[in-house]
């Protein structure tokens, strides 16, 4: 409003302007007392000591992992789900920068940030899971072990995390006011996007390929030579669904930071169309895996019924709901479906890595409460970091006109 008095203010110190968002310390501190922050503080107050205890006392003291069940939810949830749900970064960057669908530009940056944080926290989860995490750099710089699928996963995840950091860095440099560096990195956008697609295609599928090494441990209904393809295709669905969920939540939570010129409903409906078509193909691919297993007789068992429930409830139903929501322009239905679809991908990854893994073993793995709390702590920290960045850097709104 033009009648608002224009007042000249003295330049604020860097810390106040950039970190405290221009507020005096007392005011900033008062703003921290919110119900969400209280819950987050409670989670972290218990979770951080657990993580410290895990590194001090070891895996045996904090987890229910064993020689029979060496992979628990830190791999099944933090790593496999975290990486899948972070796939929105490469999916959207490809959509916009390679396929030229510029309409989706407003959701690329939040998708890349979600991807970057997803990978960082997946790696942190992996650090918790590794018996000797200090050995992690060894396959990166020495003793590569090129015959191992782990080598491929490790290198791809490391390289892609770097690529995501570089893809997101223009927003960081814009925030810091480092225009020259920002300009250089913007020029590298296409190259980084191509690298992102290649690396993601490789490691999203090779996370599935890890289970090719355990044909006797994985339930026949879930084991398939096509499992790398299942992981790759489902990662695209996970990425698109996550972008819908994340953008919808962001636009509610960060009203003052969003670009109100953007028709989010239209973008969400477009993403839903893409997700429905990919889910359609994914359902038939899973059916091919079932046919190829030659064990349709197992469908009548309790795990078989769970397999059917997974395919129908968590793949076919969201596929149809996405298509129906897009056709009837029902963005609300699409948003709820995206949440359901995200849950579906988590269910699939946990089925492969926990539920259907070692299915015949006498000793079944149930995660300890400390494993669950550690995962909760990592997710909570991820949300807090996402919020911290979005509140300060140009993520939801491009303030440069780029």
């Amino acid at each position: 409003m033009s009648s608002r008095p224009a007042t000249l203010t003295a330049p604020q110190p860097w810390f106040t302007e950039k970190v405290l968002m221009g507020q005096p310390w007392a005011e900033y501190r008062r703003g921290l007392f919110t119900p969400f922050n209280a819950v987050a503080a409670f989670v972290l107050a218990i979770g951080i000591p657990i993580i410290v205890y895990r590194f001090a006392a070891g895996l045996g003291a904090t987890t229910n992992l064993s020689q029979t069940n060496p992979w628990g939810i830190w791999i099944g949830f933090d790593m496999l789900c975290g990486v899948a749900l972070a796939a929105g970064g490469y999916t959207l960057a490809t959509t916009v920068y390679i396929f030229g669908l510029d309409d989706y530009h407003p959701v690329v940056r939040p998708a890349v940030l979600t991807g970057f944080l997803g990978y960082v926290f997946a790696v942190l989860g992996l650090m918790c899971d590794l018996g000797r995490p200090w050995n992690l750099p060894i396959p990166m710089v020495y003793s590569f072990g090129t015959t191992s699928v782990m080598f491929e996963v490790g290198w791809c995840v490391m390289l892609y995390t770097i690529v995501l950091a570089l893809e997101f860095s223009p927003a960081l440099f814009q925030w810091l006011g480092w225009q020259t560096l920002r300009t250089y990195l913007l020029r590298a956008t296409i190259g980084l996007t191509v690298a992102a697609v290649m690396l993601s295609t490789l490691h999203q599928s090779s996370l599935g390929a890890l289970f090719l090494m355990a044909p006797t441990k994985l339930h026949p209904l879930w084991y398939s030579p096509f499992i790398p393809i299942f992981f790759f295709v489902s990662s695209i669905v996970a990425g698109l669904s996550m972008v819908i969920v994340e953008s919808s939540l962001s636009h509610r939570a960060f009203q003052s930071r969003v670009d109100h010129h953007v028709d989010m409903d239209k973008l969400v409906l477009g993403l839903a169309r893409a997700a429905s078509v990919i889910l359609f193909a994914y359902v038939f691919l899973r059916l091919q895996g079932l046919a190829d297993s030659g064990r349709t007789d197992l469908l009548a068992t309790p795990l078989g019924l769970w397999f059917i429930a997974e395919i129908v409830l968590f793949a076919a139903v969201p596929c149809l709901l996405f298509a129906h929501g897009a056709r009837t322009r029902n963005a609300t239905l699409v948003r709820w479906t995206a949440g359901w679809s995200v849950l579906g991908i988590v269910v699939y990854r946990l089925n492969v890595s926990v539920v259907a893994y070692n299915w015949e073993a006498a000793e079944r793995y149930i995660p300890s409460w400390m494993e669950v709390w550690t995962s909760l702590t990592l997710v909570t920290t991820g949300i807090l970091v996402f919020r911290w960045i979005v509140n300060r850097m140009p993520v939801l709104r491009d303030e440069s006109g780029h």
Binding site: S3, Y223, H261, D292, G294
Partner: protein, 236 residues
């Protein structure tokens, strides 16, 4: 895993072929379903299907439609259903600038209009204002509803408040010189800033709550010769 006997293998392969064929057969109707949109309900007024209320953004104080092309004189154009037909109207900025209209004077069907030249006339109070056509062509229809009820232009400038239908064979070429999308947003922002510069500090009292100006900004800016101010913005 498939047991290594030939009969089981053929059974599994047969099932795989069935699944592949089912996919191909079902994919076409699914694609058509997912990519299609449910048809919009029949419009209430004549030709309103072409002028169905457009999705619009709020830029500063003004509604900016996403599916129209703007002429700098604050007229808009949108391709209609018939080949070469274009719907034409005045934008939200123009109607808010001018304020409540007494009457609208539209050219008769058959009249030729030229881009950038006066095409219709707005009457507000005792003053008149010409507006420029955004396209070349021949008028084929006028919106009789808006003639009877000029309030339609205020309520729905990009939908029911359309003014003319013009047969414009050169629209595809001419629209390249018009504004749309982000360019249109910037242009409206600039026009709003130009308005702000003209406002006196106490003009805020004349505005509604929330900072949206009342109808007739030009009259609020310059009560005596507001038509001159409006012409500056409408380029007429």
């Amino acid at each position: 895993m498939i047991p290594h006997d030939i009969l089981t293998l053929y059974g599994a392969k047969g099932l795989e072929y069935v699944i592949a064929i089912a996919f191909l057969v079902l994919f076409v109707p699914f694609w058509r379903y997912a990519m299609g949109t449910r048809p919009a309900p029949e419009p209430a007024i004549v030709r309103a299907a072409q002028a169905a209320p457009a999705h619009s953004d709020l830029v500063e104080w003004f509604r900016v439609a996403r599916d129209v092309f703007y002429h700098p004189g604050h007229a808009w154009a949108r391709a209609a259903e018939a080949a070469g037909a274009v719907l034409v109207g005045a934008d939200d900025f123009a109607q808010k600038l001018v304020g409540p209209l007494r009457t609208i004077e539209l050219p008769a069907p058959g009249t030729a209009v030229r881009q950038g030249e006066p095409a219709w006339r707005l009457h507000a109070g005792d003053k008149t204002l010409d507006m420029l056509s955004p396209v070349d062509g021949v008028v084929t229809a006028v919106n009789r509803e808006v003639l009877d009820n000029p309030g339609l232009l205020r309520d729905d400038p990009y939908g029911a408040g359309w003014l003319l239908q013009v047969q414009s064979p050169r629209f595809a070429a001419q629209r390249k010189g018009l504004l749309s999308g982000r360019m249109a947003h910037r242009w409206i922002e600039d026009a709003t800033n130009a308005l702000r510069l003209r406002m006196s500090p106490d003009l805020g009292l004349a505005m509604q709550d929330g900072g949206v100006p009342v109808d007739g900004i030009a009259q609020a800016l310059a009560p005596e010769d507001w038509d001159r101010v409006a012409r500056e913005f409408l380029l007429s």
